[in-house]
Amino acid sequence: MALGLVPLVVVLSIADGMIESISARTIETALYHVQAWSMVPTGDWTQIRGGLETSLKAVPGFRSLWPEQQGFALAYSPAGRLGLSIRGIDPRWPDVDPGVARYLKAVEGTLAMPEPGSVWIGREAAQKLGVKPGDELKLLTTRSSGSLTVPRVTPVRIAAVVSVGYQELDRLWLFAPLTLTAGLFDSSEEPVFWGIKSDVPLDRTPQFLEGVRRALGPHWQAVSWQTTGRGQFMNYQATRVLLAVVMALVLLVAAVNVSTAMVTTVGERRKETAILKALGASDQLIRRQFLVLGLGAGLVGTFVGISFGMTLAWGINGLIGLVDGAVNLFAGGGFHLLNSAYYLETIPVKFDPVVLGAAALGSVVLAVLASWWPARRAARERPLEVLRRA
């Protein structure tokens, strides 16, 4: 069972760790815990912020409130062009919100927007456009004017190259001050919404959302990260379930191996079984003896498998580093086992006691079940036939 459990523990621990890490990054830097917007015109966001904050402070778990305006722009640089998601934010956001401060880091430059045209660009996007802090970038946006669509080119200056540690996000974003995006986008088409952060555990978000809805009143619409990121999180869950199923199949194969080993053991112990039966051991006792053997094998295999799996998962980054180092020793450098275009740069690992407990329990139960048929066969052994041969 150990051989089956090791990949199961490693894969699920890493999958859980990656899902949790990516989810936390996405929620803290993009989705917010709850997004809210007014169904009626509210005027300038700076005017209503204080009132909103006062209302939301009454909601248990409320952490902070951030305005944001999102739109699309085509970014031009001498090196190329790239479609970017422009995120108009309060420049103080990373300074004040610990969630953003934790995940949004300046790779180059500093997280400040000293001029109205200062922007932060994602690392991947910066690489594709060949820009660095201090460089100028042109943003092509469009606004509707009557029946016409009017293009507009706005020069901006890179203040920082940023990263959230997840390349999927780093190649999409350009952060700009809200004062800039207000000029780039039509607020009727790309309105400012409010990102609300919370300290409640993620699984209690629905209750927090209800509190926000009650606090904001009937003219406001509010949705949680579970709605705004539904597709993404469903993909994660589907992937996780798929991995669990595949790993359970591996465990099943291991159980078949246990059964085969037990059949061999029963065959090897035929004489002893026959002697015991001739001396008065009941079928039940013989069956129980082999089931206990299966249980013992299951317990030992499970302990070894879970322990080794957890150790391997815990040291996976070091192990990958060793592999990278060994390959680069011969390849002359530049080799990375983990392609940062698709993964987090370090593999996060999460040991979920429920998952590990279920895997351990399943493994032991499977080992006992796999021993059932060999044990039954041993119990039905006819002692006379064996003793005659002996």
Binding site: K271, E272, A278, L279, G280, A281, D283, L384, L387, A390
Partner: protein, 227 residues
């Protein structure tokens, strides 16, 4: 047949070889062994002596008729009940000792007692007493491979007695032993009858040993004839 019989065969039939060409060993065999008696069954190889003993041991079921052990008819009993009877009523000694190689002398002898549910301390005490009876008290912690053939058979005999069975079934118990060791095992078995009041059902080719039991039956053509 009476209530003091420890073993009765009532119209027992047994055949081998399937329905096409069956080899009939016994047909309607009636026979009994009284409590405290000894009997030896002799006969040529293949006449069914060992099968007779296996039927008595409930390791084999008759095709017809029934075997009654200590007044209890065994026909129709399940494997669990038969195990119980074997454990409490019978002591089995085979030509081969059938000791468990991983167990010590003491453990091998105590084993049937454990199987009968006797508390561990009492099992050890009984086993020690019987091991002393067969003269193996200095070999308690030894394993079967450390013993001679005669010593193994003496241990097997002690094991057969550990549950204080009323009937000892012995199949060529001295068949693998030299003369000196064979004599010692014979003495032990016969002492159990004369001194302990046990019943002995012996299957042997050894005419001398058979005669020492006092009652010899020859199995021939499915019939038990007194000699």
């Amino acid at each position: 047949m009476n209530a003091s019989n420890i073993l009765e065969f009532r119209g027992v039939s047994k055949a081998f070889g399937g329905t096409d060409e069956p080899v009939v060993l016994f047909e309607g065999l009636d026979w009994s062994l009284g409590a405290g008696e000894a009997v030896a069954v002799v006969g040529e190889s293949g006449t069914g002596k060992t099968t007779l003993l296996h039927l008595a041991a409930t390791l084999e079921r008759p095709d017809a008729g029934e075997v009654v052990l200590a007044g209890l008819p065994t026909r129709g009993l399940g494997e669990k009940d038969l195990s119980e009877i074997r454990t409490r009523t019978l002591g089995l000694v085979f030509q081969f000792h059938f000791l468990l190689k991983e167990f010590t002398v003491l453990e091998n002898v105590a084993l049937p007692s454990w199987l009968a549910g006797v508390p561990k301390k009492e099992s050890w005490d009984r086993a020690r007493r019987l091991i002393a009876l067969v003269g193996m008290e200095k070999r308690l912690g030894h394993h079967p491979h450390q013993l001679s053939g005669g010593e193994r058979q003496r241990v097997a005999l002690a094991r057969a007695l550990v549950n204080d069975p009323a009937l000892i079934l012995a199949d060529e118990p001295t068949g693998n032993l030299d003369v000196r060791h064979a004599r010692a095992v014979q003495d032990l078995l016969l002492d159990l009858v004369t001194k302990e009041g046990k019943s002995l059902f012996l299957v042997t080719h050894d005419q001398e040993f058979a005669r020492r039991t006092g009652r010899v039956l020859r199995l021939h053509d499915g019939l038990l004839e007194p000699l």
